[in-house]
C-alpha cells in the first residue's frame, strides 16, 4: 500500500537487546528512591501526620508532607500542586512521600507513615441529572454546544425515530511503562529523565512550577513505554521527583506502581450519552441530537468531548450536540486515546445501526445516504473525505454483500455468529514546532527536533520525511529526538505529532537544500525552521478530518455469554501514510484497544471508598494475545493537499474510534439483543441471551 516508505524501526536493535533505557533506568550514581503515600479517604482534611516510625527506619532520608514540602508556584493543572495543602480531593491523592536509600526501604517507610483525616462525605456517583451538572464554557476543541434548526421539533415530527441511551465506563490508559521520573539538580539547574509525551511541555511546566529559567531545565526522554494520552500532560511524578531530589540533595528515582496509576495518572471519564435520530422513511436524517454526561475531578476540569465527532459525521438540517460535566470527588479524568471520539462514536454508530435495523436498510447504505457534501454544520468543503470509499472498500474485502441482515439466526454449535460495521473519524491537528537540518561533510544528514517516540516510531517516520525532502537515502539521515534541549516541539498527542513535527522537518530540510551548493564544508551546513507562522496561518476554509470504517465478526457463546472476535478489518482514509510498516501496527493497536473497550475494559468505581476497585491488570482486563485473532488494517491512497506539506492526517487514534461499535453491532446481528452499556462482559451478556 502506498506510503513514503516501509522501514523497520531505527531503534529496533536497542529495544530487542534491552539497551534502550526508559526514564528511571538511566544510570545515575548515588540515586535515592521515592515512594508515595496516598490518601485513604476521598474528601476531607488531614488533621495529623505521624512520620516518626518512618523517619526512624535506617536508610530513610526524608519524609515529605504538606508541612515541610517547599512551596510551588501555582499552575493551571491542580494535579501538579503536589503536597501543597492538607485538603484531600480524591482517594489515592498524594499526601506524603518517602525518600530512602533503597526501593525496599522507601516502600516500607511509606507504609509506616500514619495520616489522620477529618473525612467528609464524598460524592462520586455520576448521574445525568446530578444537581452539580454544568456545561463547560470552553474546551480544547471548539464550542461545547452546537445547535442548528429546530432539532427537538424535527424529532417529534420525524416518521422514524431512535432514542437511546448508551453508557460507557471509566477506562484507564495503562501504558506498559508506569509513569516515572529520575530527577537530579546541579545548583539551580534541573535535569529529569522522564516518561512523557512532550519534553518541551514538561520543561516549561517544570520551569513554571519551580520558578526556574527554562534554559536551566532539561528533560531527557529517548524512549517511552507507551502513553495513550496519559503522559500528555505532566503528571505529579515529575514534580514530586524534582521536589524530592532537591530535598535530599541527590538524584531521586520515582516510579509509580501499576496500582498507584489508577488514581494518579488520569483515565477516560465514564459517559452517559443520549442519542436521538429522526429520519424519513428512506433513511435520510432530519435531526440528530447527541448529549453526553461526564465527570471531572474537583482538582482539574477536563471534558471528554464525546459529542464532537457527531458534528462532522452525517447530514441533517436540524442538529444539536452538547456535553455536560459534573465535578465529583474522584481522581482526575484526562486524555485517553481518542478522547471524546472513542465513546462518542460508540454511541452515534450504535444508534445508526439501530436506525438501519428499524428501517430495514443496510447499515452501509444508510451511512451513504446521509453523507454530507460539506461540513454538516456550515457547508465548508472537506479537505478530503473518503468515508464512503472506506465503507465500500471494507465491504468488498470483508465479504459484506453476502450478509443476511436477519439478527440472531446464525448458530454454529454453542455459538451465535454475526457481523457489524461502524464508521470512524478523527480531526486533523497540528502544532507549531522548530527543527534543524544539517548536512555533514561525510554526506549524511542530521535532523534535530524535540519530538518523542511513544512507540509510534517517530524517529523512523521523521527520517523518511526528511529523506524524501532531501532526496536522500533514509539510511543517510539521523534523527535526534526526545530531549528538551533540541528545537522546541509540540506533544505526541491528538494524532498531531508527525504532522506538526514533520512540517518543521520538511521546512528545515527545504531551507538546508536552498543553502547547499554541492559542496559541504568540514563543519557542515545547518538550517533551521520555525513553523509558528505557517501553522497559525492555516485558515479554516476546509474542514480537515480523517475517516475510516470498521468491520467485525463475532461469536457469542450462548452457554457462557463469552464473546470472541474471530475477524476485524479497519479501512482508513488518513491522507498519506509515512511508514507503511509502523502505520499498520499503529492502526492494529488502536483496533485492539477498541476490542478491549467493547468487551473487557472497565474501571469499576467503589462508591463506599470513592476510587477504582479494579486497580490492577488482574482486574482491569486489556486484550491479551489470545484475544486477538484475524486482524487487518488497510488504507486508501488518499491525497490531501490542504493539510500539511506531507499530506498526512495522523493515525494514532482513529484505529480505536468506531471499533467498539462495529463489535457491538455485530453482537446485535449475532444475538438479536442490543447492548447499550460497555463493556460486553459475560455477566452482562448471558442473562439477555
Amino acid at each position: 500500500m502506498n506510503a513514503i516508505g516501509s522501514r523497520s524501526r531505527v531503534e529496533g536493535r536497542e529495544k530487542v537487546t534491552g539497551e534502550a533505557r526508559y526514564a528511571v533506568e538511566h544510570p545515575v550514581p548515588g540515586a535515592a528512591y521515592a515512594w508515595v503515600v496516598q490518601s485513604t479517604v476521598a474528601k476531607g482534611e488531614i488533621t495529623a501526620f505521624d512520620t516518626a516510625d518512618a523517619e526512624a527506619l535506617p536508610g530513610v532520608l526524608t519524609v515529605l508532607t504538606p508541612d515541610n514540602a517547599p512551596e510551588l508556584a501555582p499552575v493551571s493543572d491542580g494535579e501538579l500542586a503536589v503536597l501543597q495543602g492538607r485538603k484531600v480531593s480524591y482517594r489515592g491523592q498524594i499526601v506524603a512521600a518517602v525518600v530512602a536509600e533503597t526501593l525496599e526501604t522507601a516502600r516500607e517507610a511509606a507504609r509506616l507513615v500514619r495520616v489522620t483525616y477529618a473525612a467528609r462525605r464524598h460524592d462520586v456517583r455520576l448521574t445525568p441529572d446530578h444537581p452539580g451538572r454544568y456545561t463547560p464554557d470552553e474546551a480544547e476543541d471548539g464550542p461545547w454546544q452546537a445547535r442548528q434548526g429546530d432539532p427537538e421539533d424535527a424529532f417529534r415530527a420525524a416518521p422514524v425515530r431512535i432514542d437511546c441511551t448508551f453508557t460507557t465506563p471509566a477506562e484507564h490508559n495503562n501504558p506498559m511503562e508506569p509513569h516515572a521520573t529520575l530527577a537530579a539538580w546541579d545548583g539551580d539547574a534541573l535535569t529529569v529523565h522522564d516518561s512523557n509525551q512532550g519534553p518541551s511541555t514538561v520543561r516549561s511546566t517544570l520551569a513554571k512550577v519551580f520558578e526556574l529559567d527554562p534554559a536551566r531545565v532539561r528533560v531527557i526522554s529517548p524512549h517511552i513505554g507507551g502513553g495513550f494520552g496519559s503522559k500528555g500532560t505532566p503528571r505529579p511524578n515529575v514534580v514530586l521527583a524534582a521536589m524530592a531530589a532537591r530535598a535530599v540533595g541527590r538524584p531521586v528515582k520515582l516510579a509509580f506502581t501499576r496500582r498507584q496509576m489508577y488514581a494518579l495518572t488520569g483515565y477516560r471519564s465514564p459517559t452517559v450519552q443520549r442519542v436521538r435520530l429522526g429520519a424519513a422513511e428512506d433513511g435520510r436524517l432530519t435531526t440528530i441530537i447527541h448529549e453526553s454526561f461526564e465527570q471531572s475531578s474537583t482538582v482539574r476540569e477536563f471534558a471528554e468531548e464525546s459529542t464532537t465527532p457527531t458534528r462532522v459525521m452525517y447530514r441533517a438540517p436540524n442538529r444539536r450536540t452538547a456535553y455536560h460535566l459534573t465535578r465529583l470527588d474522584v481522581p482526575s479524568t484526562s486524555w485517553m486515546r481518542a478522547p471524546g471520539d472513542a465513546p462518542g462514536m460508540f454511541a452515534l454508530e450504535s444508534a445508526m445501526d439501530e436506525l438501519a435495523v428499524v428501517l430495514g436498510l443496510d447499515p452501509i447504505e444508510l451511512r451513504v445516504r446521509n453523507e454530507p457534501d460539506g461540513h454538516p454544520e456550515d457547508g465548508r468543503p472537506f479537505s478530503s473525505r473518503n468515508l464512503v470509499a472506506c465503507l465500500r472498500e471494507g465491504a468488498a474485502r470483508f465479504g459484506w454483500s453476502d450478509r443476511d441482515p436477519t439478527p440472531g439466526v446464525r448458530r454454529v454449535g454453542r455459538r451465535l455468529v454475526g457481523t457489524g460495521v461502524a464508521a470512524a473519524t478523527y480531526p486533523v491537528l497540528r502544532s507549531p514546532a522548530q527543527a534543524t537540518a544539517r548536512a555533514n561533510a561525510d554526506g549524511s544528514y542530521t535532523v534535530r527536533i524535540a519530538a518523542i517516540d511513544l512507540g509510534t516510531g517517530a524517529r523512523t517516520a521523521l527520517g523518511l520525511i526528511a529523506a524524501e525532502t532531501l532526496k536522500a537515502d533514509p539510511a543517510q539521515v539521523t534523527v535526534e529526538i526526545g530531549d528538551s534541549d533540541l528545537p522546541r516541539a509540540g506533544l505526541a498527542g491528538g494524532s498531531a505529532g508527525t504532522a506538526g513535527w514533520g512540517t518543521a522537518v520538511v521546512r528545515a530540510c527545504e531551507a538546508l537544500l536552498s543553502k547547499l551548493n554541492g559542496h559541504v564544508p568540514p563543519e557542515g551546513v545547518e538550517a533551521a525552521a520555525d513553523t509558528t507562522e505557517e501553522v497559525k496561518g492555516q485558515g479554516d476554509e476546509y474542514a480537515r478530518h480523517s475517516f475510516g470504517a470498521h468491520f467485525a465478526e463475532v461469536e457469542v457463546d450462548v452457554d457462557t455469554g463469552e464473546i470472541r472476535v474471530p475477524r476485524m478489518l479497519g479501512v482508513f482514509a488518513t491522507g498519506r501514510i509515512v511508514n507503511a510498516k509502523a502505520a499498520r501496527s499503529q492502526f492494529l493497536g488502536g483496533m485492539i484497544m477498541g476490542l478491549g473497550m467493547a468487551l473487557m475494559e472497565e474501571s469499576v468505581l467503589d462508591e463506599a471508598f470513592g476510587d477504582h476497585l479494579t486497580a490492577d491488570l488482574a482486574q482491569y482486563h486489556i486484550p491479551a494475545n489470545a484475544d486477538v485473532r484475524d486482524l487487518d488494517a488497510v488504507w486508501l491512497d488518499e491525497h490531501d493537499p490542504h493539510v500539511n506539506p506531507m499530506g498526512t492526517k495522523g493515525i494514532g487514534e482513529i484505529g480505536i474510534v468506531g471499533a467498539a461499535a462495529a463489535i457491538t453491532n455485530a453482537v446485535h446481528h449475532a444475538t438479536g439483543v442490543r447492548f447499550r452499556t460497555l463493556p460486553l462482559t459475560p455477566p452482562r451478556v448471558l442473562p439477555e441471551l
Binding site: 523497520s8 524501526r9 531503534e11 529496533g12 536493535r13 536497542e14 529495544k15 530487542v16 537487546t17 534491552g18 539497551e19 534502550a20 533505557r21 526508559y22 533506568e25 544510570p27 527506619l57 535506617p58 536508610g59 536509600e101 533503597t102 526501593l103 525496599e104 526501604t105 516500607e108 495503562n174 501504558p175 506498559m176 511503562e177 508506569p178 524512549h223 517511552i224 513505554g225 507507551g226 516510579a255 506502581t257 501499576r258 496500582r259 517516540d453 511513544l454 512507540g455 509510534t456 516510531g457 510498516k581 509502523a582 499498520r584 501496527s585 499503529q586 492494529l588 493497536g589 485492539i592 490492577d616 491488570l617 486489556i622 486484550p623 491479551a624 494475545n625 489470545a626 486477538v628 485473532r629
Partner: protein, 170 residues
C-alpha cells in the same frame, strides 16, 4: 543496606555475581537496581503483565514474583543475554523484521517468554489449547497466541509477535 542483608550467588547471562542483597528484594529489582540490567521491565510488579519475564534455570519466570534470596545459585538469562555477542538471536531479528513491538516496553519479556516457550514446545509440553496431549504440539497461531498470553502488550503488537515467533521457529 537497611533491611536484613544476606549473600547470594547468581549467574546472570553466563556471568557469576556474588551479591549482598536485602532479603526483601525481588529478583527483578536486583537485576535492575543492583546489577544495572534494566532490560527486564517492571510493568506491574505483581505478576500480571509479563514485562519482567526472564529465564530462571532455563524456564520462563516473572522476576517480580521471585524473591532474590530464594534464588541463590540460580542461573538467570535476561534479554541482555539473548544475543550471541553482536549477533541477534533469530527471535530478536524476527521481532524487528515483523514489527513485533511499538513502545518496546513489553518486548524484553516477550522475547524471554518466546525463547522459553519454544523450548517448552520442543519438549512436547502441551498448552490449554493442545488437542492431542500425547502428540508433539503443532505450534500453529492458536498455540502461539495461547502460550504467549502471559505477556501483555498495550501497544497491541500481537500480530507481529505471533508472526515473529513463527518465523524464528521456521
Amino acid at each position: 543496606m537497611d533491611g536484613v542483608d544476606t549473600s547470594i550467588t547468581l549467574t546472570v547471562n553466563g556471568r557469576e555475581h556474588r551479591l549482598r542483597i536485602d532479603v526483601r528484594s525481588s529478583l527483578l529489582d536486583v537485576l535492575r537496581e543492583d546489577l544495572g540490567l534494566t532490560g527486564s521491565k517492571k510493568g506491574c510488579d505483581q505478576g500480571q503483565c509479563g514485562a519482567c519475564t526472564v529465564l530462571l534455570d532455563g524456564r520462563r519466570a516473572n522476576a517480580c514474583l521471585a524473591l532474590a534470596v530464594a534464588q541463590d545459585g540460580a542461573e538467570v538469562t535476561t534479554v541482555e543475554g539473548l544475543a550471541d555477542g553482536d549477533a541477534l538471536s533469530p527471535l530478536q531479528r524476527a521481532f524487528i523484521e515483523r514489527d513485533a513491538f511499538q513502545c518496546g516496553y513489553c518486548t524484553p519479556g516477550q522475547l524471554c517468554s518466546a525463547t522459553g516457550m519454544l523450548e517448552e514446545a520442543a519438549r512436547g509440553w502441551p498448552s490449554a489449547v493442545t488437542g492431542d496431549l500425547t502428540a508433539d504440539p503443532d505450534l500453529d497461531e492458536t498455540e502461539i497466541r495461547e502460550r504467549m498470553s502471559g505477556n501483555l502488550c498495550r501497544c497491541g503488537a500481537y500480530e507481529g509477535i505471533v508472526a515473529a515467533v513463527k518465523e524464528a521457529r521456521a
